[in-house]
Every structure is written in structure tokens, then in C-alpha cells.
């Protein structure tokens, strides 16, 4: 092993090293947490689909998700689904999006009309009951807290007052919350007869959901069928498509800040040593060797900054999980690796300018003062 000049140069001036690594860490933290928060928010968008237990979902022909759509199909078709080979159980819901109004407060909610005690209802209650009587509603506890609503208070949907009989938790997303009413209330208030919005299908053990889906598609061509995963993916896709541009801009800003922090770091570190690089050139070191030193300095700074940023974002994630915040940060290995790769790329690019400077250094200048 030879002398690790890059490492020595960095550790010679600890304060500068700490400041520059801190700057890089902050920039990466910015990108990583924005990325994680957006990914987390999008992940949460499909919470209703994720938490409701079923294998397949049947919807109006062509409808792929919940958000910003309506789905209605003939209830007779549900019986046809029940008779398909491999189907164990089918439950239905009615669904629409409406405003939840209490006084001057309005918030958008998925309104789910569900059959009492069956699939499609609340999966996690905070307070109250999930056994609704006519005219009763279940809303999310965070919406209730925001609007200062208690059990027994009234909220308006479909232009009618409902009495709050229960609170759920974990049912608020960046786009809306979820509110539950009785299936028959939904039917009556909307003037519906013999239609359903979605049918959730459980398959018998030993039957693959895909095979059952194939049979439903073949026999009942008036509806669409998807697996749970396809349904959740298309639900998230609607929102991620909407936020894709914003995300790109945020990532670009983070990238540029990171680039500036790293570029400045590598540049000043090289500039401070320009005379020494000249001396090394004079005594016979090659450009390639000097480039390696500069590059190693950039790589060490970037890696240290990235490692710190990752640690911080994990702490942030844990902290948010402990608090009752609704923000979810999702950082998978793929985003770790992607951002680490981008950071290294920034590091390499940031080394380019100092490397040109070294290339231009005239070794004969060592004799000039």
C-alpha cells in the first residue's frame, strides 16, 4: 500500500472536511427525504385496497381504480361471478367521492357503502362501532380531530346529515380520507337499484387467482377484473402520474444543490493544493495519478455525505413512525442505490473542473514564487 494522499489531504483540515461532508449530506438528505416522502405518500394512496382482504376485484368495464372515477355495474353479474369455478366468496361495495362537510370545513373523502360485517368495511377502528345503523357514518379520527368532531356529532354527505358512530385510524392519504356508511343508505340516497360499484372476490384455496380471473374475464365480458396488486398499482399510478412532474423538479433541485455543494468542496480542496500538485508534477508524478487523488477525495467526501444522509433519513423515518404523524417515508434499497449512484455521478462530475486545472498546471511553475 502506498501513501493515501487523498485521505491525508482531507483529514489535514478536519473542519473543512466536516463542513463539506455536511453540505453534501444535507443535499443528499434533501433529495432522499423528498423522494421518500413522495414515495411514501403515493404508497399510502392505495391504503384502502391494500388493507381490504380480497384476491380479485370486479369493476365496471374499463374502470381500473378508485381515484377520480365511478364504477357501477349490474348486481346480477355478481351472482354470475359467484357461480364461477374456484370462487369462494364475493362481497360488494358502493363507492363515490364526495365532500365531507361539517360547518365551514369541507374535505374530500372516499365514501364507501359496505355490507355490515363483510369485506370492504373499516379494518382498524379507533373508537366507536363499525356496526352502523341507518343514518350513521364512520370517519377518520384525524379528520375528526381537525374539525373538532366527537362521536355523536353530525357531518353532511350527499346533502344529508349523518351521525358519527365511529372513528377509524390510518385512513387519511395525501388526496383524501375514507368515510363509511351502510350499503343500503348509499343505495337509497343515490337512488340506486340493483347495482354495485366493486365486487371483491376471494378464491378457493388450490385455485390460482390468475386462473379464476381468466375464467371471469371469459364468461362475464361486461365487467373488468383485476388482481389486488393490479388494482393497487393503478390506484397509485393515477396519483404518481399527477405528481411526477413536481417530483422531477424537486429531484432536479436537490441534484443541483448537491452538485453545487460537492463541486465547491472538491474544487476548493483542489485549489488549496494546487501548488502541491505542481510540485508532484515536477518531481515526476503523472497526471493520471493526480486525477486519482482528486477523484478519491471526491469519492470519500461523497460516500461520507451519502452515508450520513442515509442514516439521518432512517432516523427521520423512525421518528415519524413514533410520532402520530401521517407522513410515511419510503426508502427502499432501490432508491438508496439510485441516489448513491447519482451522488457518485455528481462526485465524478464535480472532479472534472479541478482535473482540468491540474492538467493545465505547468510543472516548471514550481520554481516560480
Amino acid at each position: 500500500m502506498g501513501i493515501a494522499l487523498a485521505w491525508r489531504n482531507l483529514s489535514e483540515n478536519r473542519t473543512r472536511f466536516i463542513i463539506s461532508v455536511g453540505g453534501i449530506a444535507l443535499a443528499i438528505l434533501l433529495v432522499l427525504s423528498l423522494d421518500g416522502i413522495v414515495a411514501g405518500s403515493i404508497r399510502q394512496v392505495s391504503v384502502y385496497i391494500d388493507e381490504t382482504p380480497f384476491d380479485l376485484v370486479v369493476s365496471q368495464k374499463g374502470v381500473k381504480n378508485l381515484h377520480m372515477t365511478t364504477s357501477f355495474f349490474d348486481a346480477d353479474l355478481v351472482d354470475k361471478v359467484r357461480r364461477i369455478d374456484g370462487v369462494k366468496k364475493v362481497t360488494t361495495i358502493l363507492y363515490t367521492t364526495d365532500y365531507l362537510v361539517s360547518g365551514d370545513n369541507r374535505s374530500v373523502a372516499y365514501i364507501i357503502g359496505y355490507e355490515q360485517g363483510k369485506t370492504g368495511g373499516p379494518w382498524m377502528m379507533d373508537k366507536g362501532t363499525e356496526k352502523l345503523r341507518s343514518g350513521e357514518i364512520i370517519i377518520d379520527r384525524d379528520i375528526a380531530a381537525k374539525d373538532k368532531l366527537l362521536l355523536g356529532d353530525r357531518v353532511t354527505i350527499f346533502g344529508r346529515d349523518f351521525k358519527i358512530a365511529g372513528f377509524t385510524k390510518g385512513t387519511v392519504t395525501i388526496v383524501n380520507s375514507i368515510a363509511y356508511i351502510r350499503f343500503d343508505d348509499f343505495e337509497r340516497l343515490r337512488g340506486l337499484r340493483s347495482v354495485v360499484s366493486y365486487a371483491f372476490v376471494d378464491t378457493k384455496t388450490g385455485n390460482s387467482p390468475d386462473a379464476v380471473m381468466g375464467k371471469i374475464k371469459k364468461d362475464i365480458t361486461q365487467v373488468s377484473v383485476q388482481t389486488k396488486k393490479e388494482f393497487a398499482d393503478s390506484e397509485r399510478k393515477v396519483v404518481s402520474d399527477m405528481s411526477a412532474d413536481i417530483m422531477k423538479i424537486m429531484n432536479l433541485i436537490g441534484f443541483l444543490i448537491g452538485m453545487a455543494a460537492l463541486g465547491l468542496t472538491v474544487y476548493t480542496a483542489t485549489l488549496a493544493k494546487v501548488r502541491e500538485y505542481g510540485i508532484l508534477k515536477a518531481v515526476g508524478s503523472r497526471n493520471t495519478w493526480l486525477f486519482r487523488v482528486v477523484f478519491e477525495q471526491a469519492a470519500i467526501s461523497t460516500l461520507a455525505g451519502t452515508a450520513i444522509a442515509f442514516t439521518l433519513v432512517l432516523l427521520l423515518k423512525a421518528g415519524l413512525a413514533l410520532s402520530s404523524s401521517n407522513i410515511l417515508i419510503v426508502v427502499g434499497w432501490d432508491s438508496f442505490l439510485r441516489i448513491a449512484a447519482i451522488s457518485m455521478m455528481i462526485g465524478v462530475m464535480a472532479s472534472a473542473i479541478p482535473i482540468i486545472k491540474i492538467l493545465r498546471l505547468d510543472p516548471a511553475d514550481v520554481f516560480r514564487r
Binding site: 502506498g2 494522499l5 489535514e12 502541491e276 515536477a282 518531481v283 515526476g284 508524478s285 520554481f367
Partner: protein
């Protein structure tokens, strides 16, 4: 050891900086050679081309014309790509302001150039330590330059210059930043190295006190060597001038005095 063997032989060196109207002729046809084990001192006024000459012999600067031969290799015929290796293996440089790397210890400064030449690990460490011990720095191996005195720094620089066993040491004003006692010690060590190890040492300096350590003294003026013997000192202003270019001469108590200008001569006469 053949002491007459020419290690460096430079012929007809011309170096002009810039072009046309702004052209500065720094060397105007210099022949120069140095033998094995020889200590050559190059003196001359500021701007006379001393550093330029050293850079050209040191393969740091291409001459406008002329040739430099190191041993049997004609350096001026080599491409830019080959020069770093030549400098690394065959030439040692010593500078006025030491030019050590501030992040590295004394030993590491020496070890690094050994690393560059492929001597790595334990062997590089051992060799660096030995060189420094030979120069009386055994107790300073792990000190960084900012903790060393000027004389110690220059000795580290000498160890670094010697690391890859070059044939030639090129020193530009090696004593200018040292007090005279330490400066003497440095030049004495350089002479010792020349004699014991058969290195050729070329020293550029304004420092007349180191004349005694040189085997040969050359006077560079206006980009050309002039005969040392023909050089005289103006007794008034102390400037070195060529005998035949003196602006005035006077004879005082049987001795001929040479002056750079009529003014100096008048001043001298006034004191008489």
C-alpha cells in the same frame, strides 16, 4: 568512479518566452555540462535566466532550441509523455521554499516519491526512514512540515530528492530561506552527497558565501555565461560587472578599480 564522465551535457540552449513584440529571451545560446560527483554553482543577477536554465536541464521546460543530454538519453528529443518518468528516476529537485506536502509527515513526503516510482509498503517506509536518518532527522520522522525548522525542512527535501537515487540534484536557491549557518550546513551536506554518492549537484544561488563549497562557479548574465575571471565588483555600489564593459576605471594605490557608471566613479573620487 569516473569523475570526468559528463552526466548532463547541454548544447546551444536558447529559450525565448512569448513571441514577437513581447518575446523575452531568457537563454541565448548556453553550453553547460556537469560531471559525476561535481558541484557546480551558477550565479548571476536577477532575471539572467538561472531558473530557466535549471528548468530546461531538469526536463521541466522545453528549450526553444538546443539539446540536453542526460547520460546517453537526449531529453530534448523525448516526448512530453516520457518526461515525468525521467524526472522521477534521474533528477532530484530542491527548492528555495522547500515545497514539502503539508498533509504528510517527513517520512511520508519521502515515501510518496518512492511510491510513485513503484517502491511501496514496508520497503518504501524503510528506505524513507533511512534517508532521513542519514540526514540527521531520525527524531523527526513523524513530524509534519509545519512542526519542522527551515533547515529540517530542507533536509527532508534533500532526502526526497535523493529517494529514487537520481544522478543529478538541481537546486534553486536552496539557502535563500535559511540563516547563514544553516545554509552552510545544507550546502556542505549537498557537497558530501556529491562526493560520497557520486551525484552531480547544480546549485543556483545569489549567496556568495557558498562559493567555497563549489568545484566550479559559473556566471550567467543576460542569458549567457561570461567568464568568472572577467567579472569585477564596483567598489561603490557593489554590483558585479564585466571588466571590459566597465563605464569607468580608476587606479588607486596601484590597483585598478572598475565602475558600473561614471556616477560611481565620481562618488569614489569624491571620497578620496
Amino acid at each position: 568512479m569516473n569523475m570526468n564522465e559528463k552526466v548532463i551535457d547541454a548544447r546551444g540552449l536558447v529559450k525565448t518566452f512569448g513571441e514577437d513584440a513581447t518575446a523575452v529571451p531568457a537563454l541565448r545560446g548556453v553550453d553547460f555540462s556537469v560531471s559525476r560527483g561535481e558541484v557546480v554553482l551558477i550565479m548571476g543577477p536577477s532575471g539572467s535566466g538561472k531558473t530557466t536554465l535549471l528548468s530546461v536541464i531538469g526536463a521541466l521546460l522545453k528549450p526553444t532550441s538546443g539539446t540536453v543530454t542526460l547520460g546517453v538519453t537526449e531529453l530534448t528529443a523525448l516526448s512530453e509523455r516520457d518526461l515525468p518518468d525521467i524526472r522521477l528516476a534521474h533528477l532530484g529537485f530542491i527548492f528555495q521554499d522547500f515545497n514539502l506536502l503539508s498533509a504528510l509527515t517527513a517520512r511520508e513526503n519521502v515515501e510518496l516519491v518512492l511510491n510513485l516510482a513503484g517502491v511501496k509498503g514496508e520497503e518504501g517506509r524503510r528506505k524513507a526512514s533511512e534517508l532521513l536518518k542519514d540526514l540527521g532527522l531520525g527524531h523527526r520522522l513523524d513530524f509534519r512540515p509545519d512542526k519542522l525548522s527551515g533547515g529540517e525542512k530542507q533536509r527532508v527535501a534533500i532526502a526526497r530528492a535523493l529517494a529514487n537515487e537520481p544522478e543529478v540534484l538541481l537546486c534553486d536557491e536552496p539557502t535563500a530561506n535559511l540563516d547563514s549557518k544553516i545554509g552552510h550546513d545544507i550546502v556542505r551536506r549537498l557537497r558530501e552527497i556529491a562526493k560520497d554518492k557520486g551525484k552531480s549537484v547544480v546549485i543556483v544561488s545569489h549567496d556568495t558565501r557558498i562559493k567555497e563549497h563549489a568545484d566550479r562557479i559559473l556566471w550567467l548574465e543576460d542569458g549567457k555565461f561570461s567568464e568568472m575571471s572577467a567579472m569585477v565588483t564596483d567598489p561603490v555600489c557593489g554590483m558585479s560587472i564585466e571588466k571590459d564593459k566597465a563605464a569607468a576605471t580608476l587606479v588607486d594605490s596601484g590597483k585598478t578599480l572598475y565602475f558600473c557608471s561614471k556616477g560611481c566613479a565620481k562618488e569614489y573620487q569624491g571620497k578620496l
